[in-house]
Point group: C2
Chain length 551, copies 2
Amino acid sequence: MKKRILIVGGVAGGASAAARLRRLDAGAEIVMLERGPFVSFANCGLPYHVSDVIADEASLTVASPQLFRERHGIEVRTGHEVVSIDAGAKTVRVRVLASGEEVEERYDALVLSPGASPVRPPLPGIDLPGILTLRNIPDVRKIREWIRERGVKRAIVAGAGFIGLEMVENLHAMGIEVTVLEMLPQVMPPLDAEMAWWVAEHLRAKGVTLALGDGVAEFEATESGGLAVRTAGGVRHEGDMVILSIGVRPETGLAKAAGLELGPRGGIRVDDRMRTSDASIWAVGDAVEVVDRVSGQPALIPLAGPANRQARIAAASICGHEARFSGVQGTAICGVLGLTVAATGASEKALERAGEKDYEKVYLHPANHATYYPGASSMHLKVVYRKTDGRLLGAQAVGGEGVDKRMDVLAVFLQMGATVHDLAEAELCYAPQYGSAKDPVNIAGMAAVNALEGLSPLTHWNSVRDGALLVDVREVDEFEEGHAEGAMNLPLSGLRDRWRELPAGRELHVYCGVGLRAHNAVRFLRQQGYAAWNLSGGWKSYAAAKATGKG
Amino acid sequence: MKKRILIVGGVAGGASAAARLRRLDAGAEIVMLERGPFVSFANCGLPYHVSDVIADEASLTVASPQLFRERHGIEVRTGHEVVSIDAGAKTVRVRVLASGEEVEERYDALVLSPGASPVRPPLPGIDLPGILTLRNIPDVRKIREWIRERGVKRAIVAGAGFIGLEMVENLHAMGIEVTVLEMLPQVMPPLDAEMAWWVAEHLRAKGVTLALGDGVAEFEATESGGLAVRTAGGVRHEGDMVILSIGVRPETGLAKAAGLELGPRGGIRVDDRMRTSDASIWAVGDAVEVVDRVSGQPALIPLAGPANRQARIAAASICGHEARFSGVQGTAICGVLGLTVAATGASEKALERAGEKDYEKVYLHPANHATYYPGASSMHLKVVYRKTDGRLLGAQAVGGEGVDKRMDVLAVFLQMGATVHDLAEAELCYAPQYGSAKDPVNIAGMAAVNALEGLSPLTHWNSVRDGALLVDVREVDEFEEGHAEGAMNLPLSGLRDRWRELPAGRELHVYCGVGLRAHNAVRFLRQQGYAAWNLSGGWKSYAAAKATGKG
């Protein structure tokens, strides 16, 4: 009898698994069962179809059932929901949604790729029409129809994570007035607050209303036929539709009912071959728990790239090939009204939550390419590394062009277990329209190495100690435009003559615009016997942090 | 007595060394001696000032002598040429160019950063006016003046390396008709010929005349006041000016006369602290020999990024700090009329020259981002790795947006000693406008891993063996538009039904458009007992290689 492999779920993980299974086993019978009407569609493109940036719905489909059949000999059954698994008998029960009929299918190997579903908290009014989520093609059709039929002018986006802000991007592009509600006091929860601040400022400048630090409490229909959202803080926001993007939850119902083990985060537990607690069942994608590459802890990190790689490994494992999944570092990116926001690895708050103390961070505001070449724009970059050995732990960036490149470079360094010394040595592409002789990644590394070696120790807005003096080494005109409270102005250009004006015996926390002049000043002052620190990221980072209320 | 540090040469290496020396030693006397009228200018921006893309000459200057003095207490003396070094006495002889006067200066530490000068071969007519090179600000002034005063309409660029093609970019932007002469049979000598072919095709499509595989033999003045270049092959090219960009030579005269050791490539020999054979003399930048990170051999690789890092290390060494230079991998990039060309590590021809046999390569033509998002464009990518263990050796890419990003990612992998397995696992930024769930770098890694593991071994246009059958698995209409000579067409979509039509016992070299369908076909055919290989990069790479005459 032919080996029979069933795949539950036909999107990223399921479709990739099917294709590779076929390549590794030309003879197996491979059947992909998908509850929805579509397989192998591009989840990550859905928000852009709302606004017609991706105008043609068909272009969201990567591979059709026909292509699976003709090219790969894979059978695809859409509208087929797997309702239970009998792991002992190695069968699944399938409901054919069109007829309601149920059939039993046997398997030798079963791959679960059920994904994650948008969280819909059981709040009053949650089922009112016009409160929409976005996960698949029927969802995007519903949103498009709602916008068109209702002539939506104002929308409320609840949840300011990646999907929420991608919806903001697309609704805003359609001329819809957008209000963003977020329970946390910041947008982009994966980022640290002082980095997310740049995103919030950009959104506000583009006319998006932000209501942060206040959760959604209930929904109501308004008299004019719209919707109102009342927050926990008692504020009422009105709009013609609500996009719920407050997170996703792994679809584990089927796995749980079958007796498969779940992990501590509530996802399906798998080993590094993507095998579940049942030896004939593998699971991949948003529903599984992965190992966080930085913390080594189990985590739920729903991302398309890892889902694809997990699928390859599950296929290899099923066919007896050696391959292991090495974990997820959470590299993510989002375009927000011309701004790019990206991150990889651990945020500072994740380290704090884990009780980690052995870390340092560096802030920069470098240009994306040589400033002498026209069109350079600056980005905001935060790099977090282990204080004892300089190992890279994570990075976040906000800016324009070149943010994706630096995040990819940092993601690779993190993957390879690099230290800040490696960042300093990176030999990256340099021509003036692409980068700089010292790339932002080099500068981050050099600043961190200087701190590690004690040459120019770093300090931050939230670690200026009592009794310490803030020294602003910018020129007088810069100082007068805005400076830290209590700071003394002593421009770097006069420092070699005037340093004796600085009080002896006091700790000096030195800052400039972004960090370079302060670095020079700290080096000078340390050689004159002062205990001097460089306030990383300078006035720019200081002001941003103060604005978040964290300063 | 104060420690006295002299620096010879005030551009990238010299200026960086001076600034860091000041940070590490606040008390030293630091004097920078520069023969030319400018210090700390942006070499790499010079071609763009020719065309006014960088309109303001002053913007090419990173730091002025005044800034060095006021901010850093560094003395800068322009127009001061060091004419000899007495290493025993620790003095240099300096000619003040304005007066002709010579003075002696003592040093405790000496840093040489003389750079490299454009090669001007002693050919007949080489000194005719209008045969210009580009190294510094006076050079760019001369070129600008010549173009303006002579009303240049046609220019000849001799040498199709990075600087040559940057000059093409800028001359073309000014509406000047450009002919490029190159002794080698390809443009962009650091690239392999079949990758450079894409650049040549692009240049031709933009109206640039290429004369490859024929060296310059002599220059003449024409009757109409222009210039003519006669090649070794006897072809005559006319133009209103000639830009000579056939390479640079390290400026080692001073070092050699002082008795400093040179390396096998003719550059100043330094250790990994950038110290020369004299314990009080360091050298950095284009004049020194570095260790090639891939081959481990001495090499001359004149690049601004490494020069800056070498300067930091020389400064650290002079001040007693620990730091070592780990070598150069030759990461380079160039914009050519809307195309980006980039490379890192070893080219295939460099490996061949070194007698290296243990390598394999993979070609790809991936899109820069998800194709379902508008504006995706495809690039050409070649990745070279060690066949036995998969270690990354080098990469080359030609294309539009996103080429610089992939090359930086690959450069970091190479720096970190990564294997193709690491490339396959890379977790890079994915949103549809930035990348793909499987990034080009992932795909390169996956293809290489599949080959390494014997799942889908690779073959190439130049390794199709006698008696082997080329099998084209594209659809019939694609095949009919163009295909390899002698190829049999058997579309992947029909392969599972028709594979028995393939002759038993013959090696099959399978190709499709770019490699994916062929991969599926190879996997299928191997499981039916065929010796099948995937022709890497498919018809695109095959056709490009054939066009270079290498097929």
